[in-house]
Chain length 305, copies 2
Amino acid sequence: MSDGLNQVDPGEGAPVFERVVLIGLGLIGSSLARALRVHNIARRIVAVDTSLDVCQAVDRLHLADETQSDAALAVRGADLVVLCVPLGAYEAIAQQIGPHLAPGAIVSDVGSVKEVATNVLVQNLPAHVQVVPGHPIAGTEHSGPEAGFAKLFEGRWCILTPPDGTDEAAVERVAEMWRRCGSMIERMDAPHHDKVLAITSHLPHLIAYTIVGTAADLAEDAKAEVIKFSASGFRDFTRIAASDPTMWRDVFLNNREATLEMLQRFTEDLTALQKAIRRGDGETLHRMFTRTRGIRRSIIDARQA
Amino acid sequence: MSDGLNQVDPGEGAPVFERVVLIGLGLIGSSLARALRVHNIARRIVAVDTSLDVCQAVDRLHLADETQSDAALAVRGADLVVLCVPLGAYEAIAQQIGPHLAPGAIVSDVGSVKEVATNVLVQNLPAHVQVVPGHPIAGTEHSGPEAGFAKLFEGRWCILTPPDGTDEAAVERVAEMWRRCGSMIERMDAPHHDKVLAITSHLPHLIAYTIVGTAADLAEDAKAEVIKFSASGFRDFTRIAASDPTMWRDVFLNNREATLEMLQRFTEDLTALQKAIRRGDGETLHRMFTRTRGIRRSIIDARQA
């Protein structure tokens, strides 16, 4: 059952898929490639990337059994295709691979916005394909195939948002892939996913990008001091604000409403705190700074800290 | 030269101070107590705290040679007193200890706001005392004497803001204490410190408190999901927003103008991003998300990441 590479964990049974095609070998795609290998999830791993540099890195790092630049060629005979590219590239890829997908092939993804992703895939792929969108809640601020690692998904949630009517067996196979990667599975409908992620992920990133941008606009000498003394809070935001710009552009363009709604609530709360500072209202400040501790405690208890 | 405790590093020469009194044994005070001991900086360490629980913890953890609840008694014969309490407590403490301080005694602190701190100390202490305010740029989200550790200050900056006319020898002794704790020293005037920290520390904390507060206001089931999927960005904010509420209340009450000015700039930048999202202006989003990466790189290069 093994492909002969020494990283395979022999205790996990037969591969879940025969031919898995990963399109886009960035942080998430390359981490998934590594995890598929380590946990013997795919009999054959095919890497597709339009960047020659990435393809060369994939070969150098032995991340796949086969590296292709042409997605249409690569997906022939695949039982699973996973899009690991920014959302803006989905439509073109779906149109490109659609005619070459076998009946019953599963197409999944790892994108951070699920309603638009699901619609784009369903509308641009043939009806005989099973669409099982997914979102592993894992990542780092680093990008590219060198940044990936097999343990990225361990102990993390993976949310699946299959549209109504998706074959349950297909959903279960994708779920099994993520479970073998060490993830816990949650299933929800795509619009609900997008609302939850708007507050847990999209708004935090937007705010981090903003504050780091505010600092970037300071005069050079002030900026040098910000960098020097960043350990006092600022640096935690810079980590988040170093995430891939193209991916995040596409997140905000495609989860506009939910993000803007959460942003609206945030702005109201910020205005209230601003007012309390201006008025010297220590009681309100103390109350607001106290209730946030409980949330931290809950996250630690949920082992997501 | 040693006090006989086995943690002393014998290679660092004579103690810098004879009797150091630390007032407030929270995260910073207890870390400083540990570092003073490890690096043989003080011949005698005296801990003062109004909380009986804290005093008992100090004794249990052997953090000091002497534990006192009465600051006035404790500071007699001290050559250094360091206030490690929230800024709101400075005035009362200064009035309490002033009459008992020996001529030439140095009073320092570790507070995050320096203009108000300096003024309160200078105005409430006798003229024969040397005021050398300090701010170690170090911390964690944890509080209390158990949370401290001796290495907290290693590789971190400590900013000193002595007012005009302070005895240079006194400034140098305080600087030497922090250098022995592993810190690098920067000297600036207090108003400038407060402006720099408004962007590197105070605004980031304010924003983190706000977004975690926004989440805390969600309905219970939505909140449970935020906690579950917090690894997607949100949890980094909760760490900051778990910091001590009393300390942070006092920071905002005492660095009002600089914080509100930075908040104003932040709000303008956030509004611009909001507009770009609403209009679907991907080019602006991509440009804004790209320039922030350089700041992260600079922080890594400056070894403050």
